[in-house]
């Protein structure tokens, strides 16, 4: 039994989740790729995150089913960092100022490939699962 399944069943036993919620959580856990089950963290971390995936499965009563499957290479995100280095200094100041006004204290001129790699590494654990009556949305990295 995987650690995730054990935790979900423990929460059910303690009454922290209802049966329906536990079932949904177990379904979400079962959808995870089998290669991650029991795989040592270090071995998994040696594999670079290659793609960002968005999968949408929607069912509309009037229009019918809609499926969306998007796969974007992470290399595109990494390449985007190179684009920030060509922004003219004047424009960079304006962008930084606009970000500061929104409460984001980031200097886009100091965004390096190393700092981006750190962000991408954390994206490895990104899992968004939205389970709605009419739609299922999954966002994850692989």
């Amino acid at each position: 039994m995987s650690e995730n399944r054990r935790q979900i069943l423990d929460m059910l036993a303690q009454g922290k989740v209802t049966v329906d919620e536990a079932e949904r959580l177990l379904s979400a856990v079962e959808r995870e790729p089998a290669s991650f089950v029991g795989e040592p963290d270090e071995a998994r971390r040696n594999d670079k995150v290659k793609y960002l995936r968005v999968v949408v499965d929607a069912q509309d009563d009037e229009d019918g089913p809609t499926k969306v499957n998007v796969r974007v290479p992470m290399q595109l995100l990494r390449a985007g960092v190179k684009l920030t280095s060509i922004i003219p200094p004047r424009a960079r100041l304006e962008v930084n100022e606009a970000l500061r006004k929104e409460g984001i204290e980031v200097d886009i001129g100091k965004l390096t490939p190393e700092s981006l790699e750190e962000i991408v590494e954390h994206l490895r654990d990104l899992r968004v699962d939205v389970d709605h009556e009419h739609a299922k949305v999954r966002v994850f990295c692989e």
């Binding site: 089913p65 499926k67 969306v68 499957n69 595109l76 190179k82 060509i86």
Partner: protein, 90 residues
């Protein structure tokens, strides 16, 4: 990081109402080769534009090239009752 620009594009647009749709297999490599003479002719304009916009021309070219090289593997698939669209870049 790959510096190879995308070589092929597969594009399918299939309206469900009709059996016919658009199925394209685009050899992007040939398009890059065909565009190359035009790009060379436009180079002086590019350098002037970079000077006006305070951009570094060679660094900008390199960045654009890297972005193009990163497009490989992009996959977009939308399947609705009215139409199906598939775009895949190799």
């Amino acid at each position: 990081m790959s510096l190879r620009p995308p070589l092929f594009l597969i594009l399918h647009i299939l309206p469900s109402a009709s059996r016919r749709g658009l199925r394209l297999w685009v050899p992007l490599l040939l398009i890059w080769i065909l565009l190359l003479p035009f790009l060379i002719v436009l180079l002086p304009v590019y350098f002037v534009a970079c000077a006006v916009l305070e951009l570094r021309p060679f660094k900008t070219l390199g960045a654009v090239f890297v972005v193009l090289g990163s497009l490989g593997g992009t996959h977009l698939e939308v399947d609705t009752p009215s139409a199906s669209v598939l775009v895949h870049i190799y």
